[in-house]
Symmetry: C2
Subunit: 596 residues, 2 copies
């Protein structure tokens, strides 16, 4: 099916919006009237621009407050419509979106509405145009699609049909199954938007918080299924009002938008993406270090029981490992300090890359020497490289194993990468969640808000069903306040208290947690005295939910990265969000308790 | 009365919050439990810190999900309470805030709630403490103050009383008059917060959008009147959860908070601020210029009919004027380009400064030479200097009048400064509105959201009743996206079309407005053809409301400042917000139409 986007979804001037839509591969655009009004190009010039970009202008929108008005207002509205038909004629747009009347003092009279829309359709057909009538969720008298359909059916004009908008229908929890009984030739246009479920005024919700399919809580697969079952075969067109997208790079937003439609088409079996292979955890995480941070990170890794395996044959990177935990230290990455890459164990790395590429992810150029493993990688929205490793490619062979090194050797107990904590650029949070989710076939958790000392942080995790690959994405609720959040790398072990003690015995201090925290923990949970004493002594935090328990501690941040060690008991699947404010306050103070 | 603030209102660590509260002059603080839990100081050390700062810890809060539970939960809750009493004892806090049960699976049984609160009060009184019970607006069974009062009355324990919170009461539109009939000795604590009226889930509204009294839409004067009439004489204490304040400088926020209470106390006749003198418009606006921008700004001022009066006797500034429009160009301001100061004609400049000082505004040191006018100034939150001029001080005398200069002389028609458009730092928008409003006794308009090419802009004006002093404050809805908005200086005239023509005849091009704008204007408003043609020819924008009409045009931005010229017809009191997106899109393109 044709894929479309409304210009209001994208940031910038109309010319920039058109260019971005074309670059992302859209077939059609909806022209949002204010974008045209603020544009110095004539409508004919806009049409020529769109033609040159391979874009069809499928809809002109919105035309407001038209129907069910007294005769003098009708005359004014018809004059206004004729002026817009002139514009549409020059644009080459043949469908006008008419929203149900909100501010035009409409009369609550469906017959009058039908009669006046019939008159408008008569005018439209004389110009070779059609009218798509849409019920706004906050329309004065008409606020559901079935009410709009009754009026359109009563008008009975071939040039009058419906525009269905998933937001207006799903926000009000209208039952979309009724769409199936609307004749296909009356479904003139389909606008798609997702949104997080929010308990707020629907107008404000619609104007600020819409997002692309797959980024919110609506079931768009189900919704579109009904529309397709009715026989609709026009464009799938996105109309998203979103405060963040309004300020983001329009090309990146357009690619994000296209990704959302590709995933939706795949779910609807309208197209087939390469299926996501099964994942089996992290092959490695790669930290870029500076000469200053390298020594401190190495000391922390050693204290956790990781040892230096050896250097890469040709690159300035080293592999450290212990059991299933592998960390690559990169001594020369131009992106500066931090987690610059990670590798995921995929059952089929080639197909993982094919799927990523089909979803518009940039595939990174490979630079390798003969004999080295051919690990393919893609770039995430924030520039992190995501590698795919599979049994075919023995990437560890590229590292020269050292003998007689490694301190005390690997610990007897399990150690593996549990998750990565990746702060996202403010304008890339929803994009990143959809990116990881769709490329890797992960499930998102609901988002949480955590109180940091200088502002709220929004956090959302994406995880595979097997619990092998977990990513915790976060972003400040408000940008421009406070400091950028640090990244983190979390290792899972089977005995957090024991490992905390081992770390301390090796001369390293975990992040100090205030006594007040343990007093509160005791007041709330009435923990076993011995456990509480051990937690308090070793600065280990604790949480529990209906599935199990979490014990976790932190090492002091090194540059913009810190390490976490956690022990999941039972089926605890969270990330200790309740403890995050305490951890962030402790990090703010930069305190570390050194052994006496 | 004692003035208090909850630590949750302020950003930073607990130590920073206490220091900020003390610096702003608060008498008491409420300790918000998570602030203590994240703090490495013991409760006794926190008490010592507060003592040293002259702060009394008046309340410990919140204690959640206590009442109306089955016996096993009661036992756990009492154990939890005793642990918190230990903390309070060390803190020196003798009142605990208990919120109505939300998540603790409470039973809908007021007798049980009363019985269990009685038991808690018994435990409290044994420790010399008291319990203040508060109905949360989202409490499971108890969500109004009168319901909470019925339970407290039924419990009949001297150590059990109410905490009243203006947000919980006014957000739900409870009638606060009932407070008058509650005995004063049962009103243990009063928490104050304002909020903008928002149609959203009350929990989200409360957690993110509370603000200080005078910054929102609640009638706190009326509310507090009822509480005082009941005989309450405890602290007036602010409890504000606000996403922006969480990330702002805590000292500035605390001063802003104190200002809100001072204004409220003045309204309640609990104290008397120096009354605000009548204002009579702008004496001048002062623009800092660079050598590059000076020539362009001077060319624009000349085109508008302003002439150079002359240089200042001792400072590197020049005065330009035409009728009532006076602009000072400052060639050496360290704050860089832009509107760095403005002066307001006050009936009594001395009293204006006294009022400002009483409201915590920084009074700027004066640097003047003998014989120069002694203009007093204060610093606004964004660093702009606000001068007060009155008939006593002939500041224009400080400028050396030039002869034989001035081009074509002043225009025959009226010209005066209508308003200033001042973008505010993201974290200073509510603060700035309260600052100008309270110091100058201005009335705020409701805030509007305007679509700029790279994000939404929130705009709110503050104006005096006479329409002599208008300030349009704006801020991006989301920080960190797009470019900083430009400042602007708007002149009022009696003939915008004529002045636009004169400007063009003097070789200067107004900001070009797209033809599409005029086509839409015609479609919407069916303007007189001749007027429409003139507007279109001269790039003059048009708006009308129920009071009158606005004609306005813009000159191209110079650095971060642009000039607007407007003509208000009839009683038009707005700022042409409807045209702002078109203006911003035109500025984005940086286009200027030069005369052929």
């Amino acid at each position: 099916m044709e894929k479309g986007i409304a210009t209001v979804c994208l940031s910038g001037t109309l010319e920039e919006k058109l260019a971005a839509a074309a670059e992302a591969g859209f077939d059609v655009v909806e022209i949002f009237e204010p974008d045209l009004i603020g544009c110095p190009l004539t409508p004919a010039e806009v049409r020529a621009r769109a033609d040159a970009l391979g874009l069809r202008i499928a809809l002109y929108q919105p035309f407001r407050d038209f129907e069910a008005v007294p005769p003098p207002a009708l005359a004014r509205n018809l004059r206004r419509a004729e002026a817009k038909f002139d514009v549409m004629d020059a644009l080459g747009a043949d469908v006008m979106l008419v929203c149900s009347n909100v501010d035009g003092d409409p009369i609550d009279d469906d017959d009058l509405a039908a009669e006046q829309l019939h008159e408008l359709a008569e005018r439209a057909v004389a110009r070779g145009m059609r009218i798509a009538y849409e019920a706004l969720a906050w329309g004065r008298h008409v606020d559901t699609y079935d009410h709009a359909w009754r009026i359109v059916a009563a008008a009975g004009h071939p040039a009058l049909g419906l525009c269905l908008d998933s937001f207006h229908i799903l926000s009000c929890r209208s039952d979309p199954r009724g769409i199936r009984s609307i004749p296909a030739d009356k479904l003139f246009f389909l606008q798609l938007a997702d949104a997080p479920r929010m308990a707020m005024d629907v107008l404000q919700w619609s104007r600020h918080y819409r997002c692309f399919p797959g980024q919110g809580d609506f079931d768009l697969k189900d919704f579109c299924g009904h529309v397709l079952a009715a026989g609709y075969d026009g464009p799938l067109s996105l109309e998203v009002f979103n405060d963040v997208f309004r300020g983001s790079d329009p090309v990146r937003t357009a690619i994000d938008a296209m990704r959302s439609l590709l995933v939706l088409e795949d779910e609807l079996c309208l197209t087939a993406l390469p299926p996501a292979p099964a994942l089996d955890g992290y092959a490695f995480a790669e930290l870029a270090v500076t000469p200053q941070s390298a020594a401190e990170i190495e000391r922390q890794l050693e204290a956790l029981g990781l040892t230096l395996v050896g250097p890469h044959r040709t690159k300035p990177v080293q592999l450290w490992s212990a059991r299933d935990a592998r960390v690559v230290l990169n001594h020369g990455d131009p992106r500066g300090e931090g987690i610059v890459a990670f590798a995921i164990e995929s059952a089929d790395a080639t197909r993982s890359v094919q799927r990523s590429e089909a979803l518009g992810a940039p595939v990174l150029a490979r630079r390798r020497q003969p004999g080295e493993a051919d690990l393919a990688a893609i770039a995430a929205p924030d520039g992190t490289s995501v590698f795919f490793a599979d049994p075919e490619h023995d990437w560890q062979h590229d590292f020269v194993a050292l003998d007689g090194r490694g301190g005390e050797g690997p610990p007897a107990a399990r150690l593996a990468i549990d998750h990565l904590g990746l702060p996202q650029p403010f304008d890339a949070f929803d994009e990143a969640a959809l990116f990881y989710r769709s490329l890797l076939d992960l499930e998102p958790t609901s988002s949480e808000e955590l109180a940091a000392p200088h502002g709220l942080v929004r956090s959302r995790a994406v995880c595979d069903l097997g619990g092998h690959v977990r990513l915790a994405l976060n972003v400040p609720v408000l940008a421009g306040l406070g400091d950028p959040a640090p990244q983190h790398l979390a290792f899972a072990c089977d005995d957090a208290v024991g490992l905390a003690r081992a770390v301390r015995d090796r001369g390293l201090a975990p992040l100090r947690i205030p006594d007040n925290y343990y007093d509160d923990l005791d007041a709330r949970l009435d923990l076993d005295d011995e456990l509480l004493a051990a937690l308090r002594e070793l600065d280990v935090l604790y949480d529990r939910d209906e599935h199990g328990e979490l014990l976790h501690f932190y090492l002091p941040a090194v540059g913009r990265v810190f390490l976490e060690i956690l022990e999941r008991r039972g089926g605890y699947g969270g990330f200790g969000a309740r403890n995050s404010p305490v951890r962030m306050a402790a990090q703010e103070r930069g305190m570390a308790r050194w052994p006496a």
